[in-house]
């Protein structure tokens, strides 16, 4: 049988056709009016995307680079930071902090759960020296969502900054950067925006910019003050990833055309709800039954079936790549993405092939049961 190459991974996600077209154009020179227009349009679109009036800086690096940029501009060596660790990516905040000599405190949650804001409040009360709290909006390794709104309230009350890795969260789940008072947000291009990896977007709030003026961590490429000054003049500090920025403008125009970031968020929410409904009907336990987000769904295989066998069969028989587990959950789960350029036909098609695969692997269930639940969930929701 024919099998198309389909990515259902929480990054990279499928490229939007307008992105592919834009990246196929002849390269522009970056010190031209034509490129400056693309750059400035993109920066403005990112402000709408993240709901902030602060500049959103466009960096030529992957999401981890954006995380590093946020951290080194907000803490000086030796300062205390609190990393909320609910999965593989929470550990990354701690690792970056240690690399720069910060005093890193970790607050862990069992994988599959979020770190509750109350626990953060207690930790900050116990450690008044903590200058900043670092968290994942969407923890891609488990599908967990952190309550960024309430975490921002807690951090503000305790006079710490809240720094959010929303790399796989923005565009998939609600995020009101200014209204919630989030101090720093980091996003990656290869997620909800349906671009290839290679760009990261970082925005700092007012309190964070004040801090950035005085912190002493060594930084050059990731010195956001320089980048902000350049961007205020309509340019980037260093050579921008030109083709990607041109594609970014196209992707953001698509988001606007669709009805804005809220529409993209609703899209992911519906696809996630359909997937959870199907999982329930098929007897596949959710990794995050309570704190799940909508960027992706992490699922456990049924008893007696290896997660790896499901991943492998979807790929070998149908060409579809779902993600396996990471870190502690390696080999134990599989993950289906909803963020970005996916539509109901994609997810329903994947769920049907998942039924075929589970049946072949000997899981007992009535064929069509997952689809029936997913379709019923879809029909029960409001659509524009």
């Amino acid at each position: 049988m024919l099998k198309k190459r389909r990515l259902f991974t929480p990054g990279p996600t499928p490229l939007h056709p307008v992105v592919q077209e834009a990246m196929a154009r002849p390269i522009l020179h970056h010190r031209t009016e034509e490129f400056r227009a693309a750059f400035q349009d993109s920066a403005a679109g990112l402000q709408r995307f993240l709901k902030t009036t602060q500049p959103v800086l466009i960096l030529a690096c992957s999401g981890s680079g954006g995380m590093e940029a946020a951290l080194v501009n907000l803490l000086s060596p030796g300062e205390e930071m609190l990393a909320l660790v609910a999965g593989n990516f929470g550990e990354r905040w701690a690792a970056i902090g240690r690399a720069y000599g910060m005093t890193v405190h970790e607050l862990e949650a069992s994988w599959g759960e979020a770190v509750a804001p109350e626990r953060v409040d207690e930790a900050l009360a116990a450690r008044p020296g903590v200058r900043a709290v670092f968290v994942q909006h969407s923890e891609s390794s488990t599908g967990v969502r952190h309550d960024v709104r309430r975490l921002a309230e807690v951090a503000r009350r305790r006079e710490a900054l809240l720094v959010v890795d929303s790399i796989s969260g923005a565009g998939a789940m609600p995020l009101e950067t200014d209204a919630w008072g989030v101090d720093a947000v980091v996003v990656g291009s290869q997620k909800a925006l349906a671009l290839p990896p290679g760009l990261s977007f970082v925005t700092l709030g007012e309190r964070a910019w004040e801090r950035a003026a005085s912190v002493t961590s060594p930084r050059f490429y990731f010195d956001l003050r320089r980048e902000r000054a350049a961007q205020a003049a309509g340019e980037s500090a260093f050579t921008p990833a030109i083709a990607q920025v041109v594609a970014l403008r196209a992707a953001l125009a698509f988001v606007d055309e669709m009805g804005g970031v809220d529409a993209l968020v609703r899209n992911a929410a519906t696809l996630a709800a359909c997937t959870r409904a199907a999982a329930g009907a098929l007897g596949l336990p959710l990794v995050a039954p309570r704190d799940h987000g909508d960027a992706l769904t992490a699922l456990k295989p049924p008893p007696g079936i290896e997660a790896g066998a499901v991943v492998k069969a979807l790929k070998s028989e149908f060409g579809s790549t779902v993600a396996g587990g990471q870190g502690k959950l390696k080999g134990q789960i599989f993950r289906v993405a909803h963020l970005g350029y996916y539509d109901p036909t994609d997810i329903l098609g994947l769920l049907a092939t998942l039924e075929v695969v589970l049946k072949r692997l000997g899981h007992p269930f009535a064929l069509g049961a997952g689809l029936a639940a997913a379709e019923a969930e879809y029909l029960g929701r409001e659509h524009a």
Copy 2:
């Protein structure tokens, strides 16, 4: 919700990525060794595709142009021809014949049925002056398959040529041009080969070439003798559709890589079988319950629901284009393609959205019933 643009029409069909890539390359000049290699590779690949040792001529025209080319090279004005008319495209053979002053006899079948070889035998016995029989391998307006193998036997016995429009048949259903003794075959690029429209492929058997040498129909662009001579020298007679030929080579290489045309035919057969199984479970009558082919499935809507409403809802809610009815069946049916670059995820996804649409339109059935039947059909088949 996001909705991707998806074509489930029996031409144009989705472009294969290798085709898109090839067409995006800088244009070659056609009188160069580089292009000659692409042209000759394509011609050789088409011989494998149609299972013939005769040259397959590559024309820059749509499928109807290829039909005209076949007809004007095989009949002289005033000669008798028999057109088998089982749908909209059968009527095209008759119309071309009349445009060139042929004496056209038509043998009709009810739409949704094939013209039986026995009836052709009787017709040829009654009209010994008929020089050629014209037929659709796959009648795209109804999904009907003609029995080309037996029609070729009948025609040969009655000393008439058999000319087959296999525009939507080749690559979707078995076709053994040489082994079955088919005298002429016409194919289009925008069907199983997953190219855009713009190329037609015509091959004539030995008896047909003899006839072509003496017929007097006026022809210039479609004079296949000139084209054959040019192609023997490794070129086309007129400016070829360069980018499309380069893409054709890529498409044919993909078919070879997949395991040859038989694998592509099996792919369509499985997708068609799954679709028919779902239709049965959902209570959607087949337009061609007995003589259906595998290039597409034509379906009637359930009682009380307009076919147009199904077509419209799939497009407006999910971005998927299925074809409506043509000619006599306009507004009464809808058609789902299987030929070309489709995989199980495509068809299962479409069937799930069809369930959603039917439910919204008030059709009573158990959600998931169509998918259960399609998945069971898929699981019951042998796959490579």
